[in-house]
């Protein structure tokens, strides 16, 4: 029962299992399907080339494959026009690109609004932008379940708001954020909206135009793809507001020594040789994911998550952070340090994450020094959770 029909598509799961290891840290990075390994080997075996530069056959093949991924990702996100997708190193770089590229729009006294649960990657670029420009960073508080508190947001999003940046799915609390209510509040004030989809993209398909944000960022490595690749989606009108940020290579239209003109998005924002094999690999992963039965995946993930939350709920002295809805759950145990728990879980071959999960301010505001996070991939089985619970009980017993 609760066995993943896709587990064998991910060769690492069997290798880890043979070593007595159970992987429950997919929110940090996911294991990779054989389709990715094949795509990388295939690309490098049949001839690498730089993209967008040369006209020779090898370069043509590489460029077509690279641009093919842009089309596939656009289709995945229901984005009309792949030129609205910029490849980046990951979600973090995409957010930094935004914070620098939109800097010229932020004036002293303007407000940038983020939620209290943001990952550092969606907090620090805005915090530092606010510091550079003398703007104010406004923090939207959470309700007890761990979602942005809408009445407070209605008060805090105002005519001063220049930009709202918020997560789709919390990497600590596992809560979906109320974007359908939040984004219109910002739009009504003429503010730009940025959605951090680093976690959300992994669970269910999302229709970006329907979501109605100006920008959306994601990382390939959480979506079963390679690291070093991510993407920034921008509505065409929003992209037009971005100033160029990194310079070099093929992002230039015309250059002389003292002056240069740059290309529009997407290429104008992809300075230097991009992660070609990685992008092609992400394309192969999207192809693979398209072969899966979306509903079956969603049901499997929901069942695993329910089992996880129910099991945690049964342990005495254990406190969930927020009310997790998907993908993961974080918890703390009375009188037990999360570092000790992580240590003893590691000794038992259970891979979970402990600490502040790149969300120190959130931890502080929850009054915690850290927590343990258990996170799920579509390849996890119910049995992985049984191993985890047994290891948890043993660890708690030892620490009692």
């Amino acid at each position: 029962m609760l066995s993943s029909p896709w587990r064998s598509d991910f060769p690492a799961l069997a290798v880890l299992e043979a070593q007595g290891e159970i992987y429950l840290d997919s929110a940090a990075t996911a294991q990779k399907p054989q389709a990715l390994i094949n795509a990388l080997s295939g690309y490098y075996t049949s001839g690498a080339a730089n993209v967008h530069r040369a006209q020779h056959t090898t370069a043509e093949r590489a460029t077509r494959a690279f641009e093919g991924t842009r089309e596939k990702l656009a289709a995945w996100l229901n984005v009309p026009g792949a030129d609205q997708l910029i490849f980046t190193r990951g979600a973090t770089e995409a957010l930094n690109l935004l914070a620098y590229g939109l800097e010229h729009l932020v004036r002293p006294g303007d407000e940038i609004v983020v939620s209290a649960l943001e990952h550092h990657a969606n907090l620090l670029p805005w915090q530092q932008l606010a510091l550079r420009r003398g703007a104010r960073l406004v923090i939207l508080p959470l309700d007890l379940a761990g979602a942005v508190d809408l009445p407070a947001a209605r008060r805090l999003i105002s005519a001063h708001t220049r930009l709202l940046a918020v997560s789709q799915l919390s990497n600590v609390l596992g809560t979906w954020q109320p974007l359908t209510e939040l984004l219109p509040l910002a739009r009504a004030q003429g503010a730009l909206t940025v959605v951090d989809g680093a976690q959300g993209i992994v669970h269910g398909r999302h229709d970006l135009p329907a979501l109605g944000c100006d920008f959306y960022v994601l990382s390939s490595h959480k979506l079963y793809g390679p690291e070093g690749v991510g993407a920034l989606y921008g509505r065409r009108e929003a992209l037009a507001q971005l100033r160029h940020w990194q310079f070099g290579g093929e992002m230039v239209e015309i250059a002389d020594y003292q002056h240069a003109d740059f290309r529009p998005a997407p290429l104008g924002f992809e300075a230097g040789t991009p992660p070609i094999a990685g992008v092609i690999g992400l394309g192969a992963v999207l192809d693979y994911l398209l072969t899966l039965d979306e509903t079956a995946v969603a049901q499997h993930e929901a069942a695993l998550h329910a089992k996880l939350v129910a099991g945690l709920g049964k342990r005495r002295g254990l406190h969930l952070l927020g009310r997790p809805q998907a993908a993961l759950a974080s918890f703390a145990v009375d009188g037990v340090h999360h570092g000790d728990l992580a240590h003893l879980l590691t000794e038992q071959g259970v891979a979970v994450r402990s600490g502040t999960h790149c969300a120190m301010p959130l931890m502080n505001s929850l009054g915690r020094t850290g927590a343990i996070r258990v996170s799920l991939g579509l390849y996890n089985d119910g049995a992985d959770l049984d191993v985890f619970f047994a290891a948890l009980d043993r660890a708690l017993e030892m620490l009692a």
Partner: protein, 142 residues
Amino acid sequence: MTIDPSALPAAAQAALAEFGAAGGWEQRARLLMSWGERLEPLTDAERSDENLVHGCESRVWLVGEDEDGHWHFRGSSEARLLRGLLAVLLARVDSLTADELQSLDVADWFAQLGLSRQLSPSRASGMNAVLQRMRDKGRERR
């Protein structure tokens, strides 16, 4: 979507016939060069920065006029084979309306001529950029 050849302009029909008969890369290249030589020349004034198509590795200029809703383009390039590519593209798009320009399947056209590879996604050939410029012009006017 492949169109009935007889519905094509005469020059396009000629291109289909000539390139269809070409035996290999060498013949196709020579054909391209001779098509390129037949391009209506641009004046010096028309070879302006404004008419330069960005996004081509070699310089390509394009001018276009809307005559009663039908577009006529002329163009040139520094490179002979590019002039040839331009010539077979112009042969196909001549007299199209802005809407037809938007929906034209250029990849298919080049494929029919055995020139698929020349329609590169990179800036090397630039035919994509030329097409984009045509479409933009068509759209501006509406």
